[in-house]
Each structure stands twice: as C-alpha cells, then as structure tokens.
Amino acid sequence: MAEHTIKAFDEDIDRLRGLIAEMGGRAEAAIENAMLALQRHDKVLAAEVVADDKRIDAIEAEVEKMVVEVIALRAPMANDLRDVVAALKIVSVVERIGDYAKNIAKRVPLVATNTRTLEPISLLPSMGQVAGEMVHDALNAFAARDPDLALAVVERDTVVDDFYNSVFRTLVTYMVENPKTISECAHLLFIAKNIERIGDHATNVAEMVYYAATGNTLPDRDRGADIQVED
C-alpha cells in the first residue's frame, strides 16, 4: 500500500499492527501452553500461562490508547479508519481469548491425575490445536490484510463446534456411568467450553479482518448447532 504523505501516520499504523501481532502471538502461546500443561499436568507451566496474561491485558490497554490518539490526531479515513477500528475491536477479543486460556490453565491443578484415563482428555488437545490455529490465522489475516484467509478461519469454526459437541456427549456419558468423575469432568467440560469460545472469538476476529480489508461485512452464516444441549 502506498505510504501516507505524513510519514508519522505510517509509523503509528505500523506500531499498532506490531502490538497486535505480539498480542496475537502471546494469546496463541497461552492456548498452546495451557493445553500442554493440561496434558502433562504441569502446574508450573499452568502458573506461567496465568502470569503471562498480564502482558496481554497490558497490550490491550496500550492499543486502546493508541487508537484513540490516532483517531484524534490523524483523522483516519476509509481503509485506514476501518483498520484502526478493527484494531480496537480485535484487541478486546484477543484479550478475551487470553482470558479463556488463563481459565484453562487455572483448572489444571484441579483436574486430578487419575483423569488421565478419561477419553475426552485425548480429544481436548486436538480441539485446542484447531482453535489455536484459528487464532493464528485470524491474526495473520489481519497482518496481511487477507480477506480470503479470514474467510477460511470463519469456515473452520464448525470444526471446533463439532469437537465441543463430541466432548460434551462423551463427558456426560462418563459422568452418568461414574459419578465419582463428575468433579473432574465438570472442569473438563468448562475447558472444552473455553476452547469452543476461543474458536468463536477467532471467528469474530476474522470477520473484523474481512471488513477492514474489504469494507464489506460477511453475510450471516448458518452457525449450525453451536450448542447441543441434549438429554
């Protein structure tokens, strides 16, 4: 894209985009490490995820401040305006993604080791990986202003939803068959729900990226069975 006549404007935009790239990278790492901590029952790693979330929150605050300044001082128009508005919305969503990863990490010490044998725990890492990749691609789409990549993220949301429904059914079955596992299963259920929400938020980010890049909003899509509450 051509440079602005006022170079400082480009510097502001670059800094803004750099911060969001860092924030996205940290959110991705938080998801990955939270899932790793869950699999290995690694309380130290889990504690790190919780601690690192502070930096994500700090970046959100920094971006918010910068966006207000850019709007006030640069009066951005057209794609620039869409870009900074998207930046403002994206950071609040990525902050939420960080919170979900933190919440997963916080549950790691509460899921006792004897649940290693539970089947859903083997599904969760794959589910977490898909959600993490969606976050990664959504942020990459923002960095590259790539509406096609954003669209691909939106389309992947159903994969996470399907995972969630599968995990939900499995956990309910476990709980019915063996009430002693209810406490662990409840935590795992929340973890699955957190991952499902991360997928939704990555989708939101992708939708904002699509709007920022094209100026058009995505048509309403059939979200399918977002939540299947059975029985």
Binding site: A2, T5, I6, M77, A78, N79, D80, N216
Partner: protein
C-alpha cells in the same frame, strides 16, 4: 475523455435539481474539465472535494455561469436547472444567478450597511413593494443566515465592520435574500476560524432541504461533516460520486481512497 461509467457515477438521484452531462471546460487551449456528468438534488448537501487544480471550483462555477466572466473560458456539454438548459441563448444570466446563488471563499460584503447588503438583491430584482416588505425580507434573510440576533440593533453599521465569520454569514444572507433555489459555496470557511466555521456548518445544516446546496471544500473533515453526498474530482474528471458516509469509509475508486486517506501524490 473519460465516458461516464457506472463506477464513477455510482449515485442515482431521483429528482435532480441540477444536472450536468458531459461538461467540458476549456481555458484557452487548456482543458480544465474533461466530461463531467453529475446530478445535484434538493434534499442533500453535495460536497465537491479534490486536490488543488482538480477542477472542482471550475466546475462549480459552470453551475451559475460564473465562467462567463472569464474571457478565455469555454463550456461544452449540457447543464440544466429544473430541466432547463442554463446555457440556452434565452437564459437570462442575471436571473439565473439569482436562482443559483454563490458564496465565495473570502467574505465580500458590499461597503454598505448591513441592511443594504441584504436589501440590494431584492431591490434590483423587484422583490419588495415597500419599505415594510424590505424590512421583512432583511429580517428573514438575516435570521436564516443565523446573524439576526447579532446585528439587529446595528443594521445601519457597515457590513465590512463585522467579523470575518459574521461577514460570511452576511454574504449567505445576501444570497438567500433573492430567494434562490440553489446555493453554491466555494470554500466558504477557508478564511474563518474554527468557531466561525462551525457556525457556517451549522447554518448549512439548517438551510438543507430549503435550497439545493453545493459546497467546494479543501477540508475533507468539513465535507464529511456538512454533506450527505460527496463528489471527488481529480485532474478535471469526476472520479467518484456517492453517499458521503460511504465515500469516507469505503470508497470504490483507488484514487478516491488514496486522496481521502492522505496517500495522494
């Protein structure tokens, strides 16, 4: 040079007050406007934006034949007011300029009293039968121009003694006094401070609907604030004409985007 395409002219106007079709303006051998077609309607304020020398002021001046005063200027194409060709030989130019009024960049009140500044036009057009009629016209015009409360006790003071912003509102009042249908404004705020500018912008907002208003401005924020329709001119062409909120958030043409985002040049 450039035929009108749907992309360029992306705005349908149902009930145009003025229309221009394939308008070309030449200054001697130099072509300043290269085939502009546009409709201007009553219900919206239309802003012309574009870099210096893009032709926006030249084009504005074709709408009430101000270019007639430039010896080397030649206008081709068709411009109508209520369907009537304003360049037809039968058109009375003085009458035309009463119907299509103009406000200029620098406030230019007559060196006469405030009262006379307003009364001059109605008098030569024979709009007032008596002094009482004229008093009514002066008050009404000054009220519509948002100036009455500030000057009602000193109508005999010289118009040139007013502040710049007041002078510009006086000029708008002077244009209004002859009951125009269209008001053309050529950078009406570029010589004014922000407060005086805000008052003019508020005035434009209040006048909307009563008159068709076309404003040329260098200030894109001003175009965004006062207009509902924006036309972007570049190198004598109308590049894009659309709903203001769309032009400033999602312009269709690359050239428009580069200009309004500050990437032009």
């Amino acid at each position: 040079m450039t035929p009108m395409t749907e992309e360029q002219h992306n705005l349908a106007v149902d009930n145009p007050k003025m229309t221009a079709r394939d308008v070309k303006v030449f200054y001697g051998p130099k072509q300043a406007i290269k085939g502009v077609s546009i409709d201007v309607d009553m219900d919206h304020v239309t802003a012309f934006i574009g870099p210096s020398g893009c032709g926006k002021s030249t084009f504005l001046r074709t709408l009430n034949r101000m270019n007639d005063t430039v010896a080397s200027a030649r206008v081709e194409g068709a411009i109508t007011l209520d369907g009537e060709d304003i360049y037809a030989p039968s058109m009375d130019v003085v009458q035309l300029r009463a119907r299509v009024g103009m406000v200029f960049q620098k406030p230019n009140p007559f060196p006469k009293s405030i009262y006379e500044n307003i009364a001059y036009g109605p008098r030569i057009h024979g709009l007032a039968a008596s002094k009482a009629d004229m008093d009514v016209i002066v008050e009404k015009s000054l009220r519509r121009a948002g100036l009455w409360e500030e000057v009602k006790d000193r109508l005999q003071d010289s118009g040139t003694a007013l502040s710049g912003g007041q002078q510009q509102r006086l000029c708008i009042g002077r244009a209004i006094a002859v009951e125009p249908e269209v008001i053309l404004m050529d950078e009406p705020c570029s010589a004014l401070d922000p407060i005086a500018t805000a008052k003019i912008e508020e005035l434009i907002h209040e006048l909307r609907g009563r008159y068709a208003i076309v404003i040329v401005t260098h200030n894109m924020q001003q175009a965004a604030r006062v207009s509902q329709r924006t036309a972007f001119f570049h190198l004598g062409e109308l590049v894009e004409y659309g709903v203001t909120s769309e032009i400033f958030t999602n312009p269709r043409q690359e050239r428009t985007k580069d200009y309004i985002t500050g990437r032009y040049g």
